[in-house]
């Protein structure tokens, strides 16, 4: 049975993980996402579905636990916040290199360094430009509501297993901490070990049986030609993601003369700014990338023919704006507006920025 509840974003994500039939969660406490592991520990998912939950000794250990369970074909996830994700990046690079399906959640706070525990979107570069070492990308989903915190867990695992690749849910302290109503899907049955072997036994390390060669999980190829082939294989996956699984949402763009581009919590604020602008007679619209990689480049390129200016609205000092500029190829002026340090811009501030940069 599906169920309507009032929940925090972090809790909705945790509950959705249990209901999606996730096999294991490994985490380490950090504000503002500790509710994820607290909720899981309180709910005893071991008894509900057999899901394993373990508090690791560090973010580094947690991501390597994800690597271990993922290498055996299990559905496994972790969550953290910015400084913790920095620690996980080594493991994330290994997950990408070894082609392991897995889900990582970043409930972003302000940085750099220990920064602040308040919401931020300053991990955009880290999320979409690699972050860890080597040639790889993450499929990045950016929820902008508590409902999407729940829904994206299943979506993320679908993509992770479709491509055998790590997927990042890039949330922030605002979406993680705020309460909204959320429609929770009904409980899915967790796969049995036999089903995991049947589905993933051609690559996962589930124990070598006589009817197959041994399975090896590694990101190492000491021969350059083999390593280059591996990198090319990864790039092919990313191309396929761009063709088949790019997601975005448009709001009042049909007749828009000015365009906001914003994701996650900023998209919620920008949506209100569109309404305020329209009330003043300014024809504004919003493009909200739902996946930050793959990025809606073509959509932006086409919208650039129609609008007079684009404002990239982000809770950071200007990161996604670079991708907006790359997408529109100088067809139209592109500016950035955003607060940092954990300050959340108001819709009025966003509208004022649009007016100042393009209209006045």
């Amino acid at each position: 049975m599906s169920e309507l509840k009032l929940m925090k974003g972090n809790e909705a994500l945790a509950e959705a993980a249990i209901r999606a039939g996730v096999d294991a969660y490994f985490g380490y406490p950090i504000t503002p996402q500790s509710e994820v592991i607290e909720y899981l520990m309180t709910e005893r998912p071991e008894e509900r579905t057999g899901m394993v939950v373990l508090q690791a000794e560090s973010e580094v250990a947690a991501i390597n636990m994800v690597y271990g369970a993922a290498s055996t074909g299990k559905k496994v996830m972790t969550s953290s916040s910015s400084p913790g994700i920095s620690l996980k990046l080594e493991g994330i690079s290994y997950l990408a290199g070894a082609e392991l399906p897995s889900v990582i959640v970043n409930v972003v706070r302000g940085g750099p360094g220990l920064g602040t525990i308040q919401p931020s979107q300053a991990d955009y570069f880290q999320s979409v430009k690699g972050g860890g070492h080597g040639d790889y990308k993450l499929y990045v989903l950016a929820p902008s509501s508590v409902q999407e915190m729940a829904d994206f867990v299943e979506d993320a695992f679908d993509i992770a297993f479709k491509y055998r690749a790590p997927v990042l849910i890039l949330s922030d302290g605002l979406i993680g901490q705020m309460m909204e109503k959320v429609n929770l899907k009904e409980q899915q049955v967790r796969l049995t070990d036999e089903e995991v072997i049947k589905l993933n036994g051609d690559w996962a390390t589930t124990g070598k049986t006589k009817n197959r060669e041994r399975n090896i999980i590694t990101s190492l190829d000491l021969q350059s030609e083999k390593m280059e082939a591996r990198v090319r294989r990864l790039m092919k996956k990313y191309e396929q993601m761009e063709q088949e699984d790019m997601r975005y949402e448009e709001f009042q763009t049909e007749d828009a003369e000015y365009l906001f581009v914003a994701y996650g919590s900023s998209a919620r604020i920008a949506q209100k700014a569109v309404q305020l602008a329209r009330a003043k007679g300014i024809k504004a619209g919003l493009l909200r990338p739902i996946t930050l990689f793959p990025y809606p480049k073509k959509v932006l390129f086409d919208l650039a023919d129609q609008v007079k200016g684009i404002l990239s609205v982000e809770l950071n000092a200007g990161q996604m704006v670079e991708d907006v500029r790359l997408s529109v190829e100088h067809k139209v002026p592109v500016e950035h507006f955003g607060r940092t340090g954990g300050i959340i811009h108001t819709p009025e501030e966003v509208l004022e920025a649009l007016e100042q940069k393009f209209i006045k």
């Binding site: 394993v52 390597n64 636990m65 070990d193 590694t218």
Partner: protein, 257 residues
Amino acid sequence: MNVLDIIKPENQVFCKSKLMTDTTLSYCPGCGHGTAHNLAMEVIDEMGISEDTIGVAPVGCSVLAYDFMNIDITQAAHGRAPAVATAIARTWPEKYVFTYQGDGDLAAIGTAETIHACNRGENIVIIFVNNGIYGMTGGQMAPTTLEGMRSSTSPYGREIESMGSPLKMTELVANLPGVHYVTRQAVHTHKHARKAKKAIKKAFENTRLKKGLSFVEIVSNCNSGWKMTPLESNIWMEENMFPYFPLGDIKVNGILK
């Protein structure tokens, strides 16, 4: 006895385990890794558990263990094998999970993962090959490098004052309640190899009985890193490594010796 008699199965004393592949070992001639690999594979074969065994390879000389062991293996990031093994054992509680790690991997960069996997009493086997040096990267100082021992990063010998004392990880983890079995072995002679095999077998038996963590240290040589002939390195090991890292059981059935 002629050659034909010698190669008869009933006269065979030692042979390559069926679970070792035919891939040429990447280890230097004289190195103990090959023997340690073979012993682990013999135990897994004799126990009939190869279909239910998942190995975790480290970073270091034995990073390519998966080329030589004909079982499913996941290769972990440097030092993280105990965390990787933890997750495999937790999500597949009926499997036999072991890590195979060197001293740089286990006792330096992976210290936290080692101690916490041990402290949680994960139902896994850790095989820890200690040769007192970083072999793969070319003979740098390890946490287990002996006092006065020369390496490329302690070219005048390890100085305790500035570089600390050689770390006895095995004694350290033996004190943790989650650890069921701790032993220190060697593989440079037939006698030692037979003992080491018994120890590895006991460790995997503990997994079968769900006794928690078993920790088998193998003090080994690194003739290349130590810049000695294989024979010299084994003699040096007996004279210098064994006094500091004495062989024998340290904890059996959860009780310190």
